[in-house]
Symmetry: C2
Subunit: 482 residues, 2 copies
């Protein structure tokens, strides 16, 4: 969309230090990832943003299938009465529901809720599917849209409608369910770290932060560049709460009828928000190569028609060579000066730019530029393909290391509440918590920070609850969050 690009070119991206929130908005807009729709709170995911989502889906889907999870599809609508069957669940979701009251020109006998999540409608179905222990485990995932009526929305991070996947499993024993809940959390952790280049902390949510209806919620939490936390994925051990509400029972090998043990787990288009905020800089989006729709952009440069033919031919040749090795390549041979073309792909976060001009052609080389560091290198044709492939791996690794260093540098400890209040802004605070919901609520009221998670990785030592000073062996990460 050429006109838009010309306009975008003129508009500078706000600097992070000037206004972090504006910076985020500018990147979403100028990298053409998404925009607000005419429907309040809903977003339009633009082609470039959607291409990132497709790459995420493809990788996650493969990981789910490796766990023997099958995809299926359940209805968008949920009878209102279903939602009320699990008391905590309806309490958690009631304020956010969108409700269909009329259809086909008539008022409905029972209003239908647009799914905010699908535990209820799926488990009502599971109760018919499962009879025997031989039907277990039942491992199903769905890729779908869900709706939660949000008052304050931000593109990708919090929107009324969003895209996600939700896995829903049933197991014969508590141990099996607990084990699978953690296996799926590991899938999310591996995906975040290996594919998104996003280091995450794994752990358990406090009771007040857990999923409405779950026994335990496990999560991956990532640090953004403003030191705030982004909950990036959750895996819930549901126990038998929903099984009892929806009569998910099976005849066990011992001849006894038992309730199933259930899990659910999900990640959403919110991950794209996390991806943007983890790596991007004041020049625009920075994408890890594994999620870049174009991993390499080739920009041929010429001053005459004759030169143009030669450099474009070489660009095509290089593209073919790289694509043969599985690299995603885009040629930008638009009839524009090189500057605006460089600038556009920089804003869009393409990991490696290759420039080919007549002089390069004569020398049998090209210039390759890294998006993340701006490092330039002249590469001869012989080493080009291998070097670019190595470079992509290096960028992937460097982005992860950079984000990890950033998190380490911005994770602090606090032993008393005054110290805590001084450092909570812009940091993960590693400290102790007595386990009381009152302490947790007071911390939140005073600072807007929340217990992000109780990390799996607990130390041996004891400490004092940062709020009340009571002795405790429970270490927590507290931070402000998106």
């Amino acid at each position: 969309m050429s006109n838009k690009n010309d306009k975008a070119e003129q508009k500078a991206i706000t600097k992070r230090e000037d206004d972090y929130s504006e910076w985020y908005q500018d990147i979403v807009e100028q990298a053409e990832l998404a925009e607000h729709s005419p429907v309040r709170g809903c977003m339009v995911i633009k082609p470039y943003g959607y291409a990132i989502w497709e790459l995420m889906q493809k990788d996650l889907d493969k990981r789910f299938k490796a766990k023997e999870v099958q995809n299926a599809y359940f209805p968008l609508f949920i009878p209102q009465s279903f939602l009320t069957k699990e008391a905590q669940h309806v309490e958690g979701f009631a304020p956010e529901l969108a409700v269909v009251t009329h259809a086909g020109g008539e008022k409905l006998d029972e209003p239908l809720v647009v799914r905010p999540t699908s535990e209820t409608i799926i488990y009502a179905t599971y109760s018919k599917w499962i009879q025997s222990y031989r039907d277990l485990p039942l491992l199903i995932n769905q890729w779908a849209n869900v709706v939660r009526w949000e008052l304050r929305t931000r593109l990708f991070l919090r929107t009324t409608e969003f895209l996600w996947q939700e896995g829903h499993t049933v197991h014969a024993t508590e141990d099996d369910a607990e084990d699978f809940t953690k296996q799926m959390l590991d899938v999310y952790k591996d995906f975040a770290e290996e594919i998104m280049a996003l280091p995450v902390i794994t752990g358990r949510k406090s009771d007040s932060e857990k999923f409405a209806g779950a026994v335990r919620t496990y999560c991956i939490e990532a640090m953004m560049q403003d030191g705030k936390a982004l909950q990036s994925g959750t895996s819930h051990m549901l126990g038998q709460n929903f099984a009892k509400a929806f009569d998910v029972k099976f005849l066990d090998a011992d001849g006894e009828e038992k309730y199933g043990w259930q899990t659910s787990w999900g990640v959403s288009t919110r991950l794209i928000g996390g991806l943007i905020m983890a790596h991007s800089d004041d020049k625009g989006l920075v994408l890890p190569p594994r999620l870049a729709p174009h991993q390499v952009v080739i920009v041929p440069i010429s001053a005459s028609e004759q030169e143009q033919e030669a450099v474009n031919g070489k660009a095509l040749e290089i593209k073919d060579q790289l694509e043969e090795k599985g690299v995603r390549v885009k040629i930008d041979d638009r009839d524009m000066r090189p500057g605006p073309r460089f600038f556009e792909w920089e804003k869009k976060g393409v990991p490696v730019r290759i420039e080919i001009g007549p002089k390069d052609l004569a020398a049998g080389s090209v210039v390759a530029v890294r998006r993340d560091t701006a490092d330039k290198a002249t590469l001869t044709e012989e080493v080009l393909v291998d070097t670019v492939i190595d470079l992509l791996d290096q960028i992937q690794k460097d982005l992860f290391d950079k984000a990890l260093n950033f998190r380490n540098e911005n994770t602090v400890s606090a032993t008393d509440y005054e110290e805590f209040k001084k450092v909570i802004e812009g940091h993960f605070v590693k400290t102790y918590w007595c386990g009381s919901a009152d302490c947790e609520a007071e911390i939140k009221a005073d600072t807007k920070a929340t217990i992000r998670c109780i990390p799996f990785n607990q130390g041996e030592e004891m400490g004092k609850c940062v709020k009340c000073g009571k002795e405790s062996d429970v270490q927590v990460i507290i931070a402000k969050a998106y």
Copy 2:
């Protein structure tokens, strides 16, 4: 789900000649493709049915991308006022709308319609995206769920919610738009014939059958085994109707501001219904290899534990060899007699079954059975992989040929109305139509049959309108339809 299988085993599939409609339902149920949900008119697509949809999506998506179409995502909700902007469009869809009136605990100022199709919300967005002729063509597709409130539903064929893709493009000239409309129809035709093994007739809809808001609707029509037609995909030339309603304008190269020319096109999970009805038989589902989640099922057979180890080992070996060549293989080594296992995969339409028993093992061969013809062959290990791959190609081709022969045998002509009424049941009738909406309406009132399409492939001759006898050069296909 073992128990279900045991039950299904006991239940016979209704014969086509006894009750075609029951036969269809039985296959959907016993092949575990889908089921009715607790929400009226909505279906649950079960894992095996969804796996077929995933294969369809993957192939179609590749074809769209080859046409430079990009995926994106637009909101589920449409402000009611948007729908009313194109007069014919709202008239066509108003009776089928589901409406959200309350959200977040409050009554909405303006009700939101759950998208029945997305022309309006997408084109409201396009009007902001497009400024110049350089922004064209704009070629976008979305994979999404849509809702149309249907009173009488049938799994896959007509459901309140269904999954589909909808492409929406904008072009600078009428010719470009017309050309693209037809290109996408060809994509659908190729997909139906090459992948679904489903021969289709391409042509134009009459005005009364066209999409609400379109200038012209092109379609692919397929014959089911009861001689009825299934509209399997449509591609609409929208002209400037929506562009004018939603202000989709661009500054052309000549400096003039012009309205864009638009197209939209879609296929849905209804295709799965067509796939079932085109090829299946009284034993169950028959799948063309290109859409079979498992193209080959290997059933190892043994009488002792020692035998079991040996045949299972061989099964695994063959699976690896076939998968290396890109064949999708399932081993069914469940501890059950062979009969019920054969029976299950027969019902589920797996194209080739390979049986391995101790005698086969000793002879260095296996038995391969075609699902479509029940032909058995003994294959030695040396030729196994190549023969199976050839066999899959042959089955794909034979299913297409069989469906084409069936259509040819059941396509008849009629020169007068009495003759027409005698043959319309169970046939495509090739005849002439004067072009009057009255004749068309009377035919429908008398016989429930409709003009399925005005085929592109028109003869040279003239004929008489089957209803009024008026001389005409317009040949049409008339049939009852799903």
